[in-house]
Symmetry: C2
Subunit: 337 residues, 2 copies
């Protein structure tokens, strides 16, 4: 099996013009890399199963209206096809929404908490020339029917366990609260127009503190102290002291449990952390390693999603990007040499 290296570009410079390309943002995975991916998968799935999580798989296409139930923004960037009977289907771009659907329908009368894990790919259209992945394999879990802070603590303890099972030793978990900044924003100024509010949150999401201060000033209705407090919140990052300083009570309760479980040294609280999916309602998290500027994965609490499919279940979960996880394991192995 003497092929090019797994991570070499599909068509190296000077390659024969006959070579047939694959669509941008897609790639072939060759045997050497595939064997390593399978080894990581096995370790992570074993960690999920031994913690009582049952693996599920959901369809490659869902009805468009199913995915739209999750929120107006969530389903915006997705592949759609029209079926032979005229129904609009959307390619799976997220695993949490289908599993919330599955829990609320197939496990309608099962005693909570419900524990699911999965290993499946998701598809998202890419912007030309942005170097984004069109397709990635996610490995993750959903814990449904266990509210905050206990559910969040179980998820974070398990996340530490699966990252170790994948072979990683050097990682941090950034933990924020999807509603803490917005609650503070709305209590400082309850009469924001939706447009101004979206503009302010966009600066938060892109982590542009200068832009955030500018938007707050342009909006009016905030005094200097409020602006300082909101920009301070967006930048607040650290240990327990950050939660105390900003009176982040929900995260303080979570921190107590993480201390009891002995995993608080893995966590960095980040009150400016927001996630792009709009179904999160509480604690949110992202996983970071020294070798990658982007998160390997993330997740959070979504207490209102299963209810949209007919069964109220407080829930949280996380997903890891298998390719990034693998690269992080390789980078750590390389650094240890």
């Amino acid at each position: 099996m003497n092929g090019p290296k797994p991570n070499a570009p599909a068509f190296a410079a000077g390659s024969v013009a006959l070579a047939t390309p694959v669509p941008t943002g897609s790639r072939d995975v060759l045997p050497e890399e595939m064997a390593e991916l399978r080894e990581i998968e096995r370790g992570v799935l074993e960690a999920f199963l031994s913690a009582g999580y049952g693996e599920v798989a959901t369809p490659a296409f869902e009805y468009d209206e199913t995915m739209r139930l999750a929120g107006p923004e969530t389903a915006r960037n997705a592949y759609r096809v029209t079926d032979k009977n005229g129904e609009v289907l959307v390619a799976r771009f997220d695993c949490t929404i289908p599993i919330a659907r599955l829990a609320a329908s197939r496990f309608r009368s099962a005693e909570p908490p419900l524990r699911f894990c999965y290993l499946q790919s998701v598809l998202r259209p890419v912007e030309p020339k942005r170097g984004q992945s069109r397709e990635y394999v996610q490995i993750g879990m959903e814990l449904m029917g266990l509210p905050a802070p206990e559910g969040d603590a179980e998820a974070i303890v398990l996340l530490v366990k699966v990252l170790k099972a994948a072979g990683l030793t050097d990682f941090k978990i950034a933990v924020g609260d999807a509603r803490f900044f917005t609650d503070s924003l709305d209590s400082a100024n309850a009469s924001l127009t939706p447009e101004r509010r979206t503009a302010i949150l966009y600066e938060l999401q892109t982590r542009d503190l200068v832009g955030l201060r500018r938007e707050l000033a342009a909006t009016g209705g905030f005094d200097d102290a409020q602006r300082d407090e909101l920009v301070g919140l967006a930048a607040a990052r650290g240990g327990r002291e950050v939660l105390d300083r900003h009176a982040a009570d929900r995260l303080r309760q979570l921190d107590d449990l993480l201390r009891d479980a002995g995993v608080d040294d893995r966590v960095i609280y980040d009150l400016g952390l927001v996630r792009s999916l709009d179904y999160y309602t509480g604690a949110v998290l992202e996983v970071f390693v020294p070798s990658d500027g982007f998160a390997l994965g993330g997740g959070g609490r979504y207490d209102e999603l299963a209810g949209k499919f007919g069964r109220d279940l407080a829930a949280c979960g996380f997903a890891l990007n298998m390719e990034r996880l693998h690269l992080a394991v390789l980078a750590e192995r390389e650094a240890a040499k």
Copy 2:
């Protein structure tokens, strides 16, 4: 994890109307079934790897023109999307074409034979109310650069090994020759119009011997003996004697090798066997078990496919449908009780 049984319909009679359905031909896989599928996958992949096959994965979407290169009919029934830069992409509906592309480009200068295996899903649009699967997981192999009959024999010996590794004991492999009937047809009447030829081959493909005799009669240009011979070919099924009676020389050479390998007792020759994909050029095969009227999988020789992607490689391969394979294992287990 107290859910409905894995194979229960998604929404049992009398279920609550709130339940959110999944698209026809799709389904959720629940933990009990998933664990069994993973066990079968592990056994089969281990059998492939220990025989020197390296696992690969290919993109969920290919360029439409890539898939069309395989043949005009092959890419007809597939999902297409238009990308943000206007390119037409087609969802993977077959694994052999992308792996032929991969072999011809990424392994352009690797010494043959090349041995690949894979475990990935394929998507095909379903006709409403036909009970077809929109999506299925295929586990399979491709052996490239080893011509007939040696390549075919290696594939069939490995197929017996992987079916045993999956836990099956009672199975048969039907083996035919994609060109034997058409060669006989064309040598009996070299001046058939494409339309008449297609009409005749349609009857062969649907295994309608009465229809086949009718089409041959309607065409003219065949005498009674030729018609009897062609209908006899389409119905010819059995052991070595079938190959001898019809002078099927290519399959006789293959049979010699299968006898040497001690797997000839698993094989039934079937000179009327044809496969729906149009890239096959030689031996074709399908796997049958007593519990299922449909094949669990199939494959064959495709010596002209990799050449379309720039590297001539005689090749063959097979794929098994994971869901059917699992049901066959369950049925055998049940019968043994």
